[in-house]
């Protein structure tokens, strides 16, 4: 087990290094930070001094090592657009995005799994067909259009829910949360549904097809022969065995949720990291883009690692085959 964890961590190092190299190359070669920082009037001596100060006269590898060293400490310099430390900007925005992403994943799981189980158990019922049609629509609608439609119906026509922002937030230390107030929770509903809908349909289809496959297996027939109740069979035996692929997909989709949060945050003007990133892309704010890229890469690598470890916990067969030294 320990060796497995170590080898998985080592595998993710090259990925992070490549991403770090890309962000560094963006910093070093795209645009000209020196002329941006100097402004209009400067002497050659000032320029040389700044170049030496930033370490731009040093060899490539030393510069890269310095960049990685700074990045590990969360030091990414100043945003070109807002002239504030990038780390501060991201720390300010992170809670909003993480709360949104977790709620979206929660919606997708809590609604998607039961819908998948139901459609898997009763594939011919009318409700199952309705669910499947609904999922086909969910897959074909782009995220931003879902958001716009929800705003149109629930904010403009019915006026039940707010259409933009986070509502009132409460600070816990440096973490600003929207869960503590009614308006914060209300503001969370539409964005979370928008972001989670695609994942919901994906999980539902996956659970459905896995359930239908597992229910045909011999051990289910045997469990029926033993006279176990339907409930025990469906949930204790069948659902448990569908969980491995579900965990993989949900884990990998958590990354997709954070990436698509860019779109959802734009639709709902949600003050998170995605909105910060898209504003940076629009104004070519390289430090923020580089920092966001590295942060997302770390997040993805961590998520993949956790997914692999969860496999281990859920599926005993993996442990046995590893134990034999494969």
């Amino acid at each position: 087990m320990f060796a497995f964890i170590i080898s998985r961590i080592l595998q993710s190092v090259p990925v992070l290094l490549v991403v770090a190299l890309i962000s560094f190359a963006m910093f070093a070669y795209v645009g000209d930070p020196v002329s941006i920082m100097l402004g209009q009037d400067f002497t050659e001596a000032q320029r040389t001094a700044l170049v030496a100060d930033l370490g731009l006269d040093q060899p490539f590898f030393i510069q890269f090592a310095k960049f990685v060293g700074n990045a590990v400490q969360g030091e990414f310099g100043l945003s070109y657009r807002l002239s504030r430390p990038v780390a501060e900007l991201i720390a300010e925005r992170a809670p909003a995005t993480l709360e949104l992403a977790c709620c979206a994943a929660g919606v997708a799981l809590l609604v998607g799994v039961p819908m998948g189980v139901y459609t898997g158990l009763y594939p011919r019922s009318l409700l199952s067909r309705a669910f499947l049609t609904f999922s086909l629509i969910g897959v074909s609608l782009p995220t931003f259009l879902i958001g716009i439609l929800l705003i149109l119906v629930f904010a403009v026509w019915l006026g039940w829910l707010p259409s933009f922002g986070r509502g009132d937030t409460v600070m816990f230390g440096w973490w600003s949360t929207g869960f503590a107030t009614m308006s914060g929770i209300k503001a969370l509903i539409l964005p979370a549904i928008t972001l989670g809908l695609f994942q919901l349909t994906l999980i539902m289809r996956l659970v459905r097809s896995e359930m239908m496959e597992v229910l045909r297996a011999d051990y289910i027939k045997f469990a029926r022969a033993r006279g176990l109740s339907n409930r025990a069979i469906n949930f204790g035996h069948a659902l448990k065995n569908t969980m491995v692929p579900v965990i993989t997909v949900v884990g990998l989709q958590l990354g997709a949720i954070i990436a698509f949060a860019i779109v959802t945050e734009t639709v709902f003007q949600w003050p998170g990291m995605g909105l910060l990133f898209i504003q940076s892309v629009g104004s070519a704010d390289i430090p923020v883009m580089a920092a966001y890229l590295l942060l997302i890469a770390c997040l993805f690598v961590t998520i993949n690692l956790i997914v692999d470890l969860l496999y281990y916990a859920v599926d005993p067969r993996l442990r046995v085959s590893r134990g034999r030294g494969h």
Binding site: P14, V19, F144, I151, L152, V156, A259, I262, V263, I296
Partner: protein
């Protein structure tokens, strides 16, 4: 020519096509989308880019079937008095153009890389596939956004406006090439060890000729299916980029741009400026996706 038609009529593909009403309908819809998009300058009732014909007094007219609507503007007008139907026809043209170009670009890069990696093997293979793996870890929309952002930072604004359409095509293409490279590499590795390749080697055909002339035609089968399935994704990616305001330039509005513009007027009650381009986009993508699904199943020997 007549012979080719007869061959098509007797083929399995045509038989499975005829038997699936959903596929026939989506093929017709996709065909209508393509024809209207290509012929937009001839069939659009107004020219939305001709500033001389625009009249701000015509702005915010609702669709024709609503009380204040005019028959001249079937789907209503936008904030600048442009006919929405015409804007949608022109926009679909740009969306389709970007989607198809990006898919072709991704296919060219992906097939070349897959062929090289699968045929040469060794270090080249390990390196190229590692890059593909790393890129596949990230959602393609993020990659496309990043490429677009880097280009935006690297070139001056005036130049960027001129090449914006090209940049979007490249950005989406780069974000999707691994989807082509992986299967092509897989089937190249199988073909590489077959006897006809060995025979070609024995009579002294160069590696390049073997790759392009002998192996390539035999690994192209799945590429058509992947391309169709990816076309829908590419169209959606373009719409998303344009909606975020970093895609095609505002002078050439695609469906995504129209939706973004309309989004500003959602609250003042002018829902049609956003909803009609949105519906057109969904219809286009849905028909392409359904065609792709059918093609995948029809060409899959396991399902016959």
């Amino acid at each position: 020519m007549a012979n080719a038609f007869a061959q098509l009529r007797d083929s399995d593909i045509w038989w499975s096509f005829k038997r699936s009403p959903v596929t026939v309908i989506s093929a017709i819809v996709a065909l209508i989308c393509i024809v209207t998009a290509v012929a937009a300058p001839f069939i659009a009732p107004h020219n939305p880019f001709d500033v001389a014909t625009l009249n701000l007094l015509d702005a915010f007219k609702p669709p024709a079937w609503i009380d204040e609507g005019e028959a001249d503007y079937l789907l209503g007008t936008d904030d600048q008095g442009r006919d929405l139907l015409s804007a949608i026809l022109y926009g679909a043209r740009i969306s389709l153009f970007v989607g198809i170009s990006a898919t072709v670009f991704a296919a060219l890069v992906g097939v070349s890389v897959g062929l090289l990696a699968g045929f040469l093997g060794g270090t080249v293979d390990a390196l190229l596939m590692r890059i593909a793996d790393i890129q596949l870890t990230f959602p393609s929309i993020l990659v496309a956004l990043l490429v677009d952002g880097i280009v935006r930072a690297a070139v001056p604004r005036e130049v960027h406006d001129q090449i914006a359409l090209f940049v979007v095509v490249v950005a989406i293409g780069i974000s999707e090439w691994p989807k082509f490279a992986r299967p092509v590499r897989g089937s190249t590795m199988v073909e590489r060890n077959k006897e006809y390749v060995l025979a070609a080697r024995v009579i002294g055909v160069s590696s390049f000729r073997i790759m392009t002339g002998h192996v390539l035609p035999n690994v192209l089968g799945p590429v058509l299916v992947i391309a169709t399935l990816n076309l829908g994704l590419a169209i959606l990616a373009e719409a998303t980029l344009s909606f975020l305001g970093v895609g095609v330039p505002p002078t050439q509005p695609s469906l995504g741009t129209l939706i973004r513009v309309g989004n500003d007027f959602l609250f003042s009650g002018e829902w049609w400026i956003t909803i009609f381009p949105g519906v057109s986009l969904v219809i286009m993508v849905l028909s392409v996706n359904l065609l792709g699904d059918w093609l995948r199943d029809a060409l899959n020997p396991k399902l016959r």
